[in-house]
Subunit: 345 residues, 2 copies
C-alpha cells in the first residue's frame, strides 16, 4: 500500500503553506476560490483522503448508521432499504447493513458488531425468534438511538415505524365478508412477529363485528414462501365445506395458492375469493389480479431514516423519546381476485 | 453521552489488574477460564466497547467493505447483496452499501465517500450511464481492491464476476428458433450496460447461425419495468406480420407483456412464444409459466465477496490481478410460455 498523502505533500507540491491547504480543504473563507480550486485538484490527483476517519475518532462519531433486517432478499425489505439509503446518502451518512437470517443469535452478534464499530444510530426489523431486546440495551445506555421498523419491539422505550397491521387485517377480512364470504381462512406467519399477530387480531375482530364465529381451524400457519402455496391449497380443498374466502399475509404466497387452486379446477373468486398482503409486483401480474394491502416499504424506509437523522442532529435529543410509534398509511387495493359482487366494487 | 468504559474501570470493579482484563478480552491463555468469564460478563454489563475503532486506525484497516449497486430495490440485486452479506458476516467484515440510482455522478460521489471512509475493498455494479471508471482509480492507486459484478467495466484491470450473457442470449434465441419461430423480437435495456449489449450479440449470432436475417426493427429498447409491458405489447401487435417469438431481457417486463398480449386475445405460446430473463418468482407464477434464464444472483454475491476477502487476506496480493473474469453458470429453464412444440421439449 502506498504512503498516505498528507496536506504537507500537497502544500509542497503547490508551493503554498500547509495551513492554506488545510483551510482550503475545509472551505475556509480566507482562501480565495482560485487557490481552493488548485488545491482541490491537486488533492484529487495525488489521491488525498480527507481525514474523516481520524476526525471521526475525535468527534466520537462515525457517520455510519447500522441496519439489521431479517433478510436482504425480500421484496419488502429491499424497498425499505432503498428508501433509507436515499435519505441517509443525502444527509451524508453511510449505511452498514446486515441480516439476521431470522435468527436471534445472529441478530445479537450483528448488534454487538455494530456497537463495536461505533455506529451513530441503529435501525432494526426484528428476527422471527427474537423475544428479548436486551442486546440493544448497550446502545441505549450510551445514548445511541435505536429505532425499530415493521417488526418492532413493544417492550422497549424505542420508537417504532409501522403500519396499522390490525386495521389492515380488519379491512381485508371485512372486504371478504362484504363480498358474501362466510367461511374465511387466514394464512399467516410466525405469531411471535408483531405484524402477523396484529393482522390475526384484525381478522378476528372483523369476524366478531359481523357475527361470524372464529375457529382456530380456519387459521393456517405457514412460512409464507412461494412453495407454501401448494400445501395451503391442499389444506383448503380438504376442508368440508370448502372455505369461500382466503386472506393470506403475503402476495407471493397468495399468488402461489391461486395457481394451485386454479390447477385443481377451483374458480377464483367464484368458488373462493382471495386477498393477499404487500402490493408486490406479483399481485398485479397474477390472474386474476390480486386484492391486497399496499404496504409502503420505500416510504417506511424514508420515514425511519429521517427520524433517526433528525434525532442525531437535534441537540435537545428529545425527538425519539417523545414519539413511541409512527404509523404510516396503508390501503386495501381491491382487484378481481376477491370481487364476487362486481357491481358493488 | 456517557463516559467510555475502559479496561481500567473493569479492573477496578473486579479487583484485578488492567493487564489481566486486557489479556482476558484478547483471549490470552495466561488468564484462566473462570476469570475470563467474570471479565466478559463485567465488560458486557458495564457496556465496554472493544476498541475496534482505534485499533482499526492503527492497522489502517476498517473491516468495512463498500458496495455500490444501481438500485437496492431490485429482485436481482437484493439476492446478490444477501449472498455478499452472508460471506462477509462470517468473515467478520461489515458492509457499507449505497445505490447510484443509475447515475454516474452519484456513483462517483458514493465512491468518493467510501474512499474517505477507508473501506478495505469495493464491490461495484455500474450505473447505466457510467462510461468512465476513473472514479475508482484512487482505490487502485492505494492498492484497495475493486471488484465488479454483473455490470462490469471492461477497460479496467479489475476482476469482474459475470454470467456469459452472450451465450445466454444465444441459447434463448436458439430455443425460440427450434420451436419454429421465424420472426423474433428482442426487448432490452440500455446498451451502454454490458449485460444488454452482450445478450443482443447472442441474439444476433443465433439468428445468423440459423440463416435468419437480423433487422434493427425487431429490437425494442425499454426501461424493462413492469409498466413497460403494455407499451411493448402495443408495438408488437402493430408489426406486420406480427412476430411469432419474443425474447425480453427481464422477467417482470416479460410477464407484463404476456398479460397485455393475452388481454388483446393473443395466445401464448400459440401466436407468440415468450422468453424472459432472471428466473424471478414472477416467472413461476405468471400463466403460462415463463421460459427464462436462471441468473444466480445469490451465488454471484457469494463468489464476488469470497474473492475480495481472499484477496484481502492473501499477503501475496496476486489473486485478483491474475483473474480478470469469473464466469458463473447460467441456464435456460424451459417452461410453457415458449413451448410451441410440446413433444420436442
Amino acid at each position: 500500500m502506498n504512503k498516505e498523502i498528507t496536506i504537507y505533500d500537497i502544500a509542497k507540491d503547490l508551493g503554498v503553506s500547509p495551513t492554506t491547504v488545510s483551510r482550503a480543504l475545509n472551505d475556509h473563507p480566507a482562501v480565495n476560490t482560485k487557490t481552493k480550486q488548485r488545491i482541490f485538484e491537486a488533492a484529487d490527483q495525488m489521491g488525498y483522503r480527507s481525514n474523516v476517519f481520524a476526525s471521526n475518532l475525535r468527534r466520537k462519531s462515525t457517520n455510519n448508521i447500522g441496519i439489521i433486517v431479517p433478510r436482504l432478499n425480500s421484496s419488502f425489505q429491499s424497498s425499505v432499504l432503498a428508501g433509507m439509503e436515499k435519505v441517509a446518502n443525502e444527509a451524508g451518512f453511510n449505511l452498514i447493513i446486515s441480516q439476521s437470517l431470522e435468527s436471534y443469535e445472529k441478530e445479537k452478534a450483528n448488534a454487538r458488531s455494530m456497537f463495536n464499530s461505533r455506529v451513530d444510530g441503529l435501525l432494526v426489523s426484528l428476527a422471527g425468534n427474537t423475544e428479548k431486546t436486551e442486546h440493544f440495551q448497550a446502545f441505549m445506555d450510551k445514548g445511541i438511538p435505536v429505532l425499530f421498523f415493521d417488526r418492532v419491539a413493544s417492550q422497549t422505550g424505542c420508537t417504532g415505524v409501522i403500519i396499522d397491521n390490525r386495521q389492515a387485517g380488519y379491512n381485508a377480512t371485512k372486504h371478504l365478508i362484504q363480498q358474501g364470504c362466510k367461511h374465511i381462512v387466514h394464512v399467516l406467519g410466525n405469531l411471535n412477529i408483531n405484524v402477523y399477530a396484529e393482522r390475526l387480531k384484525g381478522y378476528k375482530y372483523a369476524l366478531m363485528d359481523h357475527d361470524i364465529a372464529f375457529s382456530q381451524d380456519n387459521v393456517i400457519h405457514s412460512d409464507l414462501n412461494e412453495e407454501a402455496g401448494e400445501d395451503i391449497a391442499k389444506k383448503i380443498m380438504a376442508m368440508k365445506p370448502m372455505p369461500d374466502g382466503l386472506f393470506v399475509s403475503n402476495d407471493a404466497c397468495a399468488a402461489s395458492c391461486i395457481r394451485s387452486l386454479k390447477q385443481a379446477g377451483i374458480a377464483i373468486p367464484g368458488d373462493i375469493a382471495v386477498v393477499g398482503f404487500n402490493n408486490d409486483v406479483i399481485s398485479r401480474l397474477i390472474e386474476p389480479n390480486l386484492t391486497t394491502t399496499h404496504y409502503p416499504g420505500y416510504e417506511m424506509g424514508e420515514v425511519a431514516m429521517k427520524n433517526l437523522i433528525n434525532h442525531l442532529s437535534d441537540s435537545t435529543e428529545g425527538v425519539l423519546q417523545n414519539t413511541n410509534t409512527i404509523t404510516l398509511r396503508s390501503e386495501l387495493i381491491i382487484r378481481d381476485s376477491s370481487l364476487k359482487k362486481k357491481s358493488e366494487a
